[in-house]
C-alpha cells in the first residue's frame, strides 16, 4: 500500500515528518515528493497523486475541484543582514522597499547603504503570500535579485550587508536578522492570534473521495499526535473547531 504526496517544497519537510512518524506504526509506504505548489495542484487535479501540497491558497477556479485541508499557518519573516541596525519596518515601508521607491537604508533610519532586494521566484507560495499581504497594487521591482529557495535567499542576505528578503518562519536561523513588522515580532503566538500579518497557509489537497489508507492517514494528521508534529515544525495548527470540521469530513 503506497500513498503519494506531491507538491510544495516548503510543505515537503512537514509532510515528510508526518509520513515518517505515521509509517513507523502503520503498514503503509508514503512517498513525499516535492516539485512546488503548482505541481501539487496540477497533480491532484490530474489525479496522479493521492494528496497534493500547496503553500498558498487556491484561486477560485481551482477551489471548485479540489478540497483544501489546512495544516496550519506559517509566518513569513522579513530578514536583513545581521549587521543591519534597522529593527522595525511597517508594511508601507516594506512595500516601498520592494517596489523600489526606497533605495537606501538611511531612508528608513539605517546606515547610508544601498538596499539590495532579494525576492523569490514568481509563483512561489512564499512570494504569492508576500505579494498579497504587502504589495497590494504595486509590484516587486523588476531588477530585484531572484532566488529560488529559502536557503539561497538566506545565504544571499548573509553575504550582503545591504540585502533584504523574506523567508519562511520555520526555517529562520541566527544567520540573518528578522525585523518586526508594524512593531510585532514573529512567533507562534503572534501568528496564532493573527497580530503578525505576514502569514500563509500550508495546505493538503484532495481530489474527490480519498481511498481508505489516505483517509486513515489524514485522520491521524488531525489527531493530537499529528497536531503535535505540526507544532514542532513551527507551524500554527488550525483552531479546534476547524480540526473538528476536518475530522468530520474525513469520516
Amino acid at each position: 500500500e503506497r500513498i503519494n504526496i506531491v507538491g510544495s517544497t516548503s510543505v515537503q519537510p512537514l509532510g515528510e515528518k508526518l509520513a515518517e512518524t505515521y509509517t513507523e506504526n502503520n503498514n503503509v509506504l508514503i512517498n513525499v515528493q516535492g516539485g512546488g505548489s503548482g505541481m501539487g495542484i496540477r497533480s491532484s487535479h490530474q489525479n496522479i497523486t493521492d494528496i497534493g501540497m500547496s503553500s498558498k491558497e487556491l484561486n477560485n477556479e481551482e477551489k471548485k475541484e479540489l478540497e483544501e485541508l489546512i495544516l496550519g499557518q506559517e509566518g513569513i519573516v522579513i530578514s536583513v543582514n545581521n549587521e543591519n541596525n534597522v529593527n522595525d519596518l511597517n508594511i508601507g515601508q516594506i512595500k516601498n522597499i520592494f517596489s523600489g521607491k526606497i533605495r537606501n537604508w538611511k531612508e528608513v533610519g539605517g546606515k547610508d547603504l544601498n538596499i539590495e532586494v532579494i525576492t523569490r521566484e514568481e509563483g512561489s507560495g512564499t512570494r504569492s503570500a508576500f505579494e498579497d499581504l504587502v504589495m497590494e497594487d504595486s509590484k516587486i521591482k523588476a531588477d530585484a535579485i531572484v532566488q529560488s529557495s529559502t536557503e539561497s535567499v538566506k545565504q544571499s542576505i548573509v553575504s550582503n550587508p545591504g540585502a533584504i528578503g523574506f523567508v519562511s518562519y520555520a526555517h529562520m536561523s541566527d544567520d540573518v536578522k528578522s525585523l518586526l513588522v508594524d512593531g510585532v515580532d514573529v512567533s507562534e503566538e503572534t501568528i496564532a492570534d493573527k497580530s503578525y500579518k505576514l502569514q500563509r497557509p500550508f495546505i493538503f489537497l484532495i481530489n474527490g473521495e480519498p481511498k481508505d489508507s489516505v483517509k486513515e492517514f489524514l485522520q491521524w494528521v488531525y489527531s493530537p499526535e499529528g497536531i503535535k508534529i505540526i507544532k514542532e515544525e513551527k507551524i500554527v495548527p488550525p483552531n479546534s473547531t476547524q480540526i473538528l470540521k476536518y475530522q468530520e469530513l474525513l469520516k
Partner: protein, 293 residues
C-alpha cells in the same frame, strides 16, 4: 551455419541501427511533448511577441523572453570563451606534457569533478564567488560573469576528458615523424596532433556547450535571475533554462504553457548554435587533412 551467420550479421546491423535512431526518437517524443504543452501560450500570446517581448511578468500575463535569449547566449558563450582555452591547454598538458604518474592522478579527479551536483556548485558560487565578485567589481555580485565562471568550472571536466582522449588516440607514428624532423614538442602538437585530433576536440566542445546551455540549478543561484537585458557582464541576468526551472513548480494554466514555449525557444537556440559549431567542424576538419583522403 552459413545462413545463420548471415542472419546474425543482419540482425546485429538492424539492432545497431535501432540504437542509433534511438536518440532521434527520444528527441521527437520530447519535441512533441514540449510543443504540445507550449501551443496554448503561443496561440494566445503570439510567437513573435513571445520571442521579442521585453517584459516577463506572468502575473500580468506578459511573456516576453527576449532578455533571457540574450542571457542564455551570453552566459554560454562567455563560459566557453573561458573554458575552451583552459581545458584544451589542460588536455594537451595531460596528454602530451605531463608524466604518466601525473596524468593517472589528474584524470579520475577531473572526471570526479563532473560528478559534483549542480546544487553544490551553486552554493559554492553563492557563498564564495558572489561576495568575491561584489567586492572586486561592485554591483550585487549576482552576474553574468559569476554564472559564466561557475559554468566554466562545470564544463571543464567534459571538455578536458573527451579532448584528452582524442589527443591520445592520434597514432604515435605521426608524433615520431614530426619529432624526427626536429620539430619541438609544441610544433608537433600545434601542427600535427591538434589538427588530427580536431574532430574529437570539437565533439568535446559541443558536449561542453550542451552542458553549459542546459545547466540550470547552479546558474539560478548565482545569476540573480533578473529578467532584463544585462548592460555589462557584471549585471544580473536570467537564462531560458533558469526561467523554466524557477517557475515550473508553481505555474498553472497559460503561465505553465509559456514555460514550455520557453523550452521551444531554447531548442531553437541550441539548434542554431549546433549549426554554427558544425560549420566550424566542417571547415577545420578539411584543413586538417590538407585535401581529400
Amino acid at each position: 551455419m552459413q545462413k545463420k551467420k548471415k542472419l546474425v550479421e543482419y540482425l546485429i546491423e538492424k539492432g545497431l541501427f535501432i540504437t542509433a535512431i534511438f536518440s532521434i526518437v527520444i528527441i521527437l517524443i520530447i519535441f512533441i511533448f514540449i510543443i504540445n504543452e507550449g501551443i496554448p501560450a503561443i496561440s494566445e500570446y503570439g510567437f513573435l511577441n513571445f520571442i521579442f517581448g521585453m517584459t516577463w511578468a506572468p502575473s500580468d500575463s506578459q511573456f516576453g523572453v527576449f532578455p533571457m535569449i540574450i542571457g542564455s547566449i551570453c552566459v554560454t558563450l562567455l563560459s566557453l570563451l573561458m573554458a575552451v582555452p583552459l581545458s584544451l591547454l589542460c588536455a594537451i598538458f595531460m596528454a602530451e606534457v605531463a608524466p604518466d604518474s601525473v596524468r593517472k592522478v589528474l584524470k579520475p579527479v577531473i572526471e570526479t569533478l563532473s560528478g559534483i551536483p549542480s546544487v553544490v556548485y551553486g552554493f559554492f558560487g553563492l557563498i564564495v564567488i558572489v561576495p568575491l565578485i561584489r567586492e572586486q567589481f561592485g554591483g550585487t555580485g549576482f552576474s553574468m560573469f559569476t554564472a559564466s565562471l561557475i559554468l566554466t568550472v562545470m564544463v571543464l571536466p567534459t571538455i578536458i576528458s573527451v579532448s584528452q582522449d582524442a589527443i591520445r588516440s592520434v597514432p604515435s607514428e605521426y608524433r615520431e615523424a614530426s619529432l624526427g624532423l626536429g620539430a619541438t614538442n609544441w610544433q608537433t602538437i600545434k601542427n600535427i596532433i591538434f589538427p588530427a585530433a580536431l574532430p574529437g576536440i570539437i565533439t568535446a566542445i559541443i558536449l561542453g556547450m550542451g552542458r553549459a546551455i542546459g545547466e540550470t540549478l547552479a546558474v539560478i543561484m548565482v545569476a540573480g535571475n533578473v529578467p532584463l537585458i544585462p548592460g555589462s557582464i557584471f549585471d544580473p541576468l536570467r537564462t531560458l533554462t533558469s526561467n523554466i526551472a524557477l517557475e515550473m513548480g508553481y505555474a498553472t494554466g497559460i503561465h505553465y504553457s509559456a514555460l514550455f514555449t520557453t523550452a521551444i525557444v531554447l531548442f531553437i537556440i541550441i539548434i542554431v548554435l549546433l549549426l554554427v559549431a558544425h560549420y566550424f567542424q566542417k571547415k577545420y576538419s578539411m584543413d586538417a587533412y590538407g585535401g581529400h583522403a
